[in-house]
């Protein structure tokens, strides 16, 4: 009896050893590929088992950020069209792409977030439940981006942020399932700060206009921190709610603050209105204006040449086509389809989808942890703005930061020639350490 037991035990050990050996060997055979042994996670495998995959897009189509949301949406739509047709531009960014992603057609649904986190989360939850969305995107407000980050991690569905400048998005609120292409407010401050000091001098007094949410507070803080190193002080910081109907009260405080420079962190129509009203109050004659995180359509919407000689940090301006061949292709394709030069919201959106396609093609699977690891591999990728790569620790793209300066109307060569590119800075030297804002991305599964 005891021998039999011993024999059985020996056989079990041998079987277990064989299984373990096979288990260790298999990953190298099926390198980077999900296979049946993976437990379902999020909308995988249901969301990618058919001939198409679905992306949920939530952009603001109403409210103060509606104009920027529409531009962003156009960027997404062009990218999907290019991915499904295997367009040359997408294949230059994602060389393994043929048609679709891993041969599957990309479909999408669009919902209006109105730049409100609750609206965005509800819409994306619906896309996940009803459409088995395998990817979420869209934001022009960091409050939305942070909320969708949390949803992504909870539901284990990937989220690629739209426009989001807050240090929190891939800082303290970073998640394993979230990725951001555009830069931190901190990076913008590090890029535009030296330009402002060089242009306006040291020991200046700055007045800030700050929208009252994560983007506004973190960008203002980053600007204050950087400029303090050059002896700049804060004369006043005017915090206003998103969508304030009038800025006159805030601007009177600015006018009476004795500041030399007005640093306007407001965004969307709030930025437009506050700048127009600053002109009404004669502030722009007394103070220099700077916009740390540029707003798509700002110059054309403000009008009247009010942004002449104003510095701003941005992701993209269409005249970058002179330097980057893929930017030239993108501008041409976008203008052909939509009839105007793309702003950086559209560029950001196109980049995010192209980079996602690249990550999935390299993962060889729609299994989310594999895609995340593909992002985190740090491959050098050719993009609209030259060579870029993902920083694994905080899921932020290492990419150039562009400093632009508003043109005087008389200097404009065409009706969309609003900005001069002052400099294009490599991103990495400007970026803080990945954990500087407390990023702890959480688990893969």
């Amino acid at each position: 009896m005891s021998d039999k037991i011993k024999d059985t035990g020996r056989r079990s050990v041998l079987k277990a050893g064989a299984a373990l050996g096979a288990g260790l060997a298999l990953p190298s055979v099926f390198s980077g590929r999900a296979f049946a042994a993976n437990a379902p996670i999020g909308t995988w495998p249901a969301g990618s088992s058919g001939s198409s995959v679905f992306i949920g897009i939530t952009v603001p189509r109403t409210g103060s950020y509606a104009l920027q949301g529409e531009d962003e949406l156009k960027g997404y739509q062009l990218a999907v069209e290019h991915i499904n047709s295997g367009h040359e531009l997408i294949r230059k960014i994602s060389p393994k792409t043929k048609k679709g992603v891993l041969g599957k057609e990309v479909k999408y649904g669009v919902a209006d977030s109105a730049a409100k986190p609750n609206d965005a989360v509800q819409a994306q939850q619906r896309f996940i439940t009803e459409n088995k969305a395998i990817l979420m995107t869209g934001s022009t407000s960091s409050a939305v981006a942070v909320a969708l980050n949390k949803l992504a991690q909870r539901e284990k569905v990937l989220y690629v942020a739209g426009i989001s400048g807050s240090n929190d998005t891939t800082g303290k609120d970073c998640v394993r399932y979230g990725f951001r292409q555009c830069f931190y407010g901190q990076t913008a401050a590090a890029a535009i700060g030296p330009v402002l000091v060089k242009a306006f001098g040291k020991n200046k007094k700055a007045a800030y206009m700050t929208p009252d949410y994560t983007y506004g507070h973190t960008v203002t803080k980053s600007m204050q921190d950087y400029l303090a190193t050059a002896g700049w002080t804060t004369a006043t910081n005017q915090v206003s709610p998103l969508g304030a109907p009038d800025f006159s009260s805030y601007l009177l405080n600015v006018a009476n603050s004795g500041a030399d420079v007005l640093i306007n962190v407001n965004w969307g129509h709030d930025a437009v209105l506050s700048i127009q009203q600053a002109k009404q109050f004669g502030i722009l004659e007394k103070m220099k204006l700077a916009v740390p995180y540029q707003v798509p359509f700002l110059a054309r919407e403000v009008g009247g040449g009010l942004l002449a000689d104003v510095y701003a940090a941005t992701d993209f301006w269409w005249t970058m086509e002179d330097k980057f061949p893929l930017a030239k292709m993108f501008v041409a394709e976008f203008e052909k389809k939509y009839g105007y030069k793309p702003e950086w919201g559209a560029e950001n959106a196109y980049m995010q989808f192209a980079l996602w396609a690249e990550a999935v093609e390299n993962a060889g699977s729609f299994y989310p942890p594999d895609i995340i690891k593909s992002y985190e591999a740090g491959r050098k990728i050719q993009s609209l703005v030259g060579e870029v790569y993902w920083r694994a620790e905080d899921h932020t793209l290492v990419r150039p930061v562009v400093i632009v300066k508003g043109k005087k109307p008389a200097a404009m060569k065409n009706k969309e020639d609003y900005w001069d590119i002052v400099q294009i800075d490599p991103g990495l030297p400007l970026m803080q350490k990945p954990d500087a804002f407390g990023c702890n991305p959480g688990s893969y599964t």
């Binding site: 109403t62 509606a66 529409e70 969508g243 006018a255």
Partner: protein
């Protein structure tokens, strides 16, 4: 330490803000007071007036033409709304009226977005009111100064219509007891139509005279609507003088709070409304309204 220059600047700015709010709120309160309809489309009508004026300005280049066009256009829109839709809801519950006017506001906003996109539009002030004026303690936009006078004239006209004409007498009688007015042989529904038209014209007028101050966006009326409701509640629902008083109080609250802590400007507005509701549930100049 109080910065007196800033304090006086904000005090004056509160007056200007308040005058504008009073003008917008007056239309809302006249309609509610007479018809008993809480018009949630009032903010959208305010923007519609602004856009109508913008189109007229683009066509004519004249601010005066823009003001007349924006006002008259909304008068026509108001009369059509009342005749075709609103009148069918007088006897319906308030909830139905709220849903109806809310739906109408969505339609108006999306129509504006369809025709004009979300890109904001600007209407410059008339040449004689452009630029900045020195008031000693501060520089202030000349047009905003003129706006105080423009709004004062508009409110005086409204006051004259409401308190010095036969129509106004009927309207005020309708506010008190519309059934009695009807029983006296007066076609109260025709009066309702005229009142809705006047309220809409007030919104349209406010929309276009406000356009040089705040650039036009399709949904710009939403935030204004919220503020005007606060104004109406503070002043007293249905009270024309209450709308003026409420507007001035709201303007000063926003302006003076922003001097101390700008982040709390709108919070304080709602705090004041809550306080008024606790102390005087019918508003400062309101009386027990029609049920």
């Amino acid at each position: 330490m109080v910065n007196w220059s800033n304090f006086l600047s904000q005090l004056f700015n509160g007056l200007v803000l308040g005058a504008l709010l009073a003008l917008i709120s007056s239309g809302l309160t006249i309609i509610y007071g007479t018809l008993g309809v809480l018009n949630l489309a009032h903010g959208a009508m305010f923007m519609l007036g602004g856009y109508a004026g913008y189109v007229a300005y683009e066509w004519s280049g004249s601010f005066l033409v823009a003001v007349v066009a924006g006002t008259l256009f909304l008068g026509v829109v108001g009369v059509l709304m009342e005749r075709l839709i609103i009148r069918h809801f007088y006897s319906r519950p308030h909830e139905d009226q709220l849903l109806l006017t809310f739906g109408l506001s969505i339609c108006m906003v999306e129509l504006l977005r369809y025709f004009f996109t979300s890109m904001s539009k600007t209407v410059p002030p008339p040449q004689m009111f452009s630029g900045i004026t020195s008031l000693g303690i501060m520089f202030y936009p000349t047009y905003r100064l003129a706006l105080v006078g423009i709004v004062a004239v508009a409110l005086l006209v409204l006051y004259f219509v409401l308190y010095r004409t036969r129509l106004g007498m009927i309207v005020r009688a309708g506010i008190e007891d519309s059934v009695m007015v009807d029983s006296l042989g007066i076609d109260v529904y025709r009066v309702f139509m005229v009142v809705f038209g006047i309220g809409a014209m007030a919104a349209g007028f406010a929309g276009i005279v406000n356009a040089p101050v705040v650039s036009l966006t399709p949904d710009g009326g939403e935030a204004i609507l919220v503020q005007t409701f606060v104004v109406v509640v503070i002043g007293g629902v249905g009270s024309f003088p209450g709308a003026i008083l409420g507007g001035l109080i709201a303007g000063e609250i926003i302006s003076l709070t922003s001097m101390v802590n700008p982040g709390y400007a709108y919070v304080m507005l709602f705090a004041a409304m809550t306080l008024v509701l606790l102390v005087r549930p019918h508003g400062l100049l309101g009386t027990r309204g029609r049920e």
